[in-house]
Symmetry: C2
Subunit: 500 residues, 2 copies
Amino acid sequence: MASSLLTRQLAISLQQNLRLAAPGSRYVSKTATKTVSEFEYDAPSMKTAVPGPKSQELLRQLGEIQNVGAVHFFCNYEESRGNYLVDVDGNRMLDVYTQISSIPIGYNHPALMKVMTNPNNVSAFVNRPALGILPPENFPDKLMESLLSIAPSGMTRVQTMACGSCSNENAFKTMFIWYRNKERGYATPSEQEVDSCMINQSPGCPDLSILSFMGAFHGRTLGCLATTHSKVIHKLDIPSFDWPIAPFPKLQYPLEEFVRENAQEEARCLEEVEDLIVKWRQKGKPVAGIVIEPIQAEGGDNHASPDFFIKLRDIARKHGCAFHVDEVQTGGGTTGKFWAHEHWGLDDPADIVSFSKKLLTGGYYHRDELQPDKPYRIFNTWMGDPSKNLFLLEVLNVIRRENLLEEVVRSGKALLQGLYALQTQYPHILSGARGQGTFCAIDACNDATRDSIMNKARNKGLFMGSCGEKTIRFRPALVFKEFHVHQLLNILNDVLAEHK
Amino acid sequence: MASSLLTRQLAISLQQNLRLAAPGSRYVSKTATKTVSEFEYDAPSMKTAVPGPKSQELLRQLGEIQNVGAVHFFCNYEESRGNYLVDVDGNRMLDVYTQISSIPIGYNHPALMKVMTNPNNVSAFVNRPALGILPPENFPDKLMESLLSIAPSGMTRVQTMACGSCSNENAFKTMFIWYRNKERGYATPSEQEVDSCMINQSPGCPDLSILSFMGAFHGRTLGCLATTHSKVIHKLDIPSFDWPIAPFPKLQYPLEEFVRENAQEEARCLEEVEDLIVKWRQKGKPVAGIVIEPIQAEGGDNHASPDFFIKLRDIARKHGCAFHVDEVQTGGGTTGKFWAHEHWGLDDPADIVSFSKKLLTGGYYHRDELQPDKPYRIFNTWMGDPSKNLFLLEVLNVIRRENLLEEVVRSGKALLQGLYALQTQYPHILSGARGQGTFCAIDACNDATRDSIMNKARNKGLFMGSCGEKTIRFRPALVFKEFHVHQLLNILNDVLAEHK
C-alpha cells in the first residue's frame, strides 16, 4: 500500500500543478497560493447526493445492529487524504468537522502511516498493557516527549485515560479526593467514613458537588453528564446529582463591538457563581471544583473574555474550589495556541486541564498538590493506551516542523473574515460569526435553515458540523490552509446565493 | 523485526526440544507433554529480585509524573512471548495475571503481529473515526464477523465502547432510558421532563436506581462506582447515588460439598434482593436494572450457583427490572465457555451483557427492546475503536483454530486439582480453592501471607494477581496449557514448602 500511495501522491501532485492555473476564487475569497502538502487532494469531487446509494445500503445493514439515526454516511478512510474525506460512493468532501474535531493533522498523514510501519512500534499496538501496574520501559520517556512537552504552564503531572469522558470523570474524582483530604486535615479517614463509603453513604461518599455552566458539555457518563447542560437528548431519563449550575455569559458578537454590554453580562454570571458556591455550601453540598470549557462547543460555540476566566479562577481560589479547564475540544492547537486557555494570559490558570480528541489519547494534567495521596484511587485496567502516545508524538513533530499553529492563526483569520463578509452579504440568514484560530462558528436564523445549508453544502462537497440550536461549527484539522478556507467560503457562498 | 522474531522462534524451538528431556515436575504435578506453540519461551528465567534495579530507576522517573504506588515493575513487551512476561531487568515470568486479565492469547502472538503488518489495516489505525456518525465501509461486516459471531444467546445488537467503565455506564443509561420509556407508555416526554432534565432535576433526571451486590466491581467512573462495593480505596471521598445493595452469597467451597448450606445462603440473598426492590420502589427510587458479575472478581472471586442466577433473572423479570450481566472480566473464554453466564443453562439469561478486557474493545450486547429510541442518546466521539475490532477478529480466529476453549477446560481442571492438592498439603496456609475453567482462585490465611506468597513466587518467576482481602486470583491467557499449569504449581509448591 505504501508504494501505491506514493505513486498516487505523485499523480495528485501533477494534477495540482495543472489545476492551479485555473481560477480558484468565485465570490468572497481571493485566490490563495496553494501550499498544501503534496499527499492530499486539491478539491472536493462529488458523484452522488450524500448519503449515496452505497451508504444507504450500509445504513440498512448497520441498522439491524445499532440505532443509526446519527450516521451521516459511510466512509472510505483508505482513500481519504489530508482535509478531504471520501465516502463509500466516491464523493470527496472538504471536511471541516474532522470526526467531531478529533483528526489533528488530516487523514492518512504520511507521518502517522510511518508510525504503523515502524517495526519498533508493533509491540506497543499488539500488547496493550495495564499501564497503572506494568508500564512499558519507555513510558516515562514517551510521556516526557509527548504530553509533558506541551504541558500547560505550572503543570508537571499528567494522567492518561482512554477517552474524554473517562478523563473528566477521573479529573472530578481527583478534585473530590483533594478536597476531602483538605477538609479532614490530611488525617486518616475515620472508621465511619470507611464503613459508609462501601454502601454509597456519607460521610464516606460525601455530598460534594462540581459547579458547571448552562450550555456546558463535559461528557455523557453519569458523573460527566451531571455537569453537561447542552441538549435534552443527552440528559433525559438519566439520574443525576444535585450540583450547582451557573449561567454562562451570553455575549454579543463581534466581541470587540460589545465590550461594555458583554462585561456586564459576565459580571452577572460571576456574581451568580459566587452565590451558588455559598448556597451549595449552606445546603451541605460544598463545591469541590469548578469545571468550564474555554469555548462552549457542543453548547453552541459560546465565548467568554479572558477577564471572565481570570475572575472565575480567582473565585475558585477564594472559595477553596479546584479549577478544572476542560480542553477536550479546544485543546491541540485549533485556537491558534496549543491550549485555548493560554489566550487568557495567566501563568497558572488551572488546577486540572483535561484533554482528548486531537490529542488522540485522553487524560488530564494537574498540579502537584492534586496528586492522589494513594495508589489505586485513580485507576482502571488500561489507564490509556501507549499506542496512541506514539501517534501523538508524531503529530507534535508535524505541528512543530510545519509551524501548524501559525498556519491555524493565518487560516483562522481568513476564515473569520470570510464569515464576516458572508453575514454582511446575507444578514437575513447568518449572524454572530465568531472564532479563535480556526475554531470558528456562525449562527443561522433558525435550526431548519442551518440544517438546510449544511445539507446543501455537503452535496457540493463541504462537510461541516452543527452545535447549539442553530449554529454551524468549523473544526478543521491543523493542516487546513488559506487555500482550503477559500474553497469553503466559495461553496458556502454558492449555497447561500441559491438560498437567497 | 518480523524476520529476527522468526530466527528467535527457531532458536527457542530448539531450546525447547533440548529442555523437554529434563525433568519438568517436582512435587504436585506430573510432567505434561509440552504442546505450546513454538513462538514462546519454555520456562521462567530470573536474573534479579523483582522489581530489579532498572525497574526501580524507572519507577523513580515515573514517580515525578504520576502516583506510582500501584506499579509492580516495568516491562519489556518486545521480548515477552505467549504466557511469559519479560521485565526491563531481563526477568522472564510465567504471567497468570495477564494485564488484569486483558491479554487474550498471550504476548506478541504472531497472528496479532500480522494484523499490524497487513497494509490493508493501516488506515483503521491511523484514522480513528467518530463511529456514531461516520463509520467505515466495513463496519457492519466487521461487527458481524467479530462481536456478533460470539453474541450471547438472544442478542443481535451490540454497541462498542472504548473501555469497560464506558460500557457499563452506557449499559446503565440504556436501562434507564428503556425503563422510563416503559413508564411513560412510550409517549413524548412532557415539557416538565424536558425542562427539568437540563438542570439535573426530576422528573427529567428521574430518581431511578441500579441494584448491585456487596463485593461487586463494575468500574470506577461515577455511575459504575455507585454499583462497585469491593474496596474502600475505590469509593472513599467520591459522591455516590442512594442505590440498593444486596448481599452476594458467601458460599463455602468446594461448592459440591456444601450444596444444602449454599442453597440456603443463596435463598437468603435472593429474598433480600426482592425486599430491596420493593423498598426502593416505595422510596421513590425504583430499580431500573440489576447488575451482576457471573463471578465477583475484584471482590474476591466469589461464586454463585446457576440456580441463584436463574432465580435472580426471574426476580428481575417479575419486577420489570432489566438484567445486566457484567462479563468484563469473566467474558472471552477464560471460564471454558465464551461467556461465563452460558454455564447457567438458560436460553435468554440477560437483557444486557457488557464486555471489555480480553475482547480488546469495550461494549455491550442488548436485546432488541433495549435499543435506544433515538439517535445521540447513547453516543460519544469515538464509540469504540475499529482497530481493536481487527485484533479481536484475529483473536477469535486463533481461539477457533486452536480450540482454545477446550484447552482452557483441560488446563483449568489441572489447575483446580493442583490447588486442591496444595490446600490439602498446606491447610494452615491455603483454603477455598475454586474456579471455572482457568478462572481460578485460592485464599491465603490472611492478607500478609497472601502478599508474601505472591512476592516470593514472583521472585521465582510466577506472576499472579490478588483480589478480595486475602485471595490469589489466576487469570492466565487462553494459551495457558497443562504444561504451564504444572510450572505454576511447582513454583507455588516451592514457595509454600519454604513458608512452612
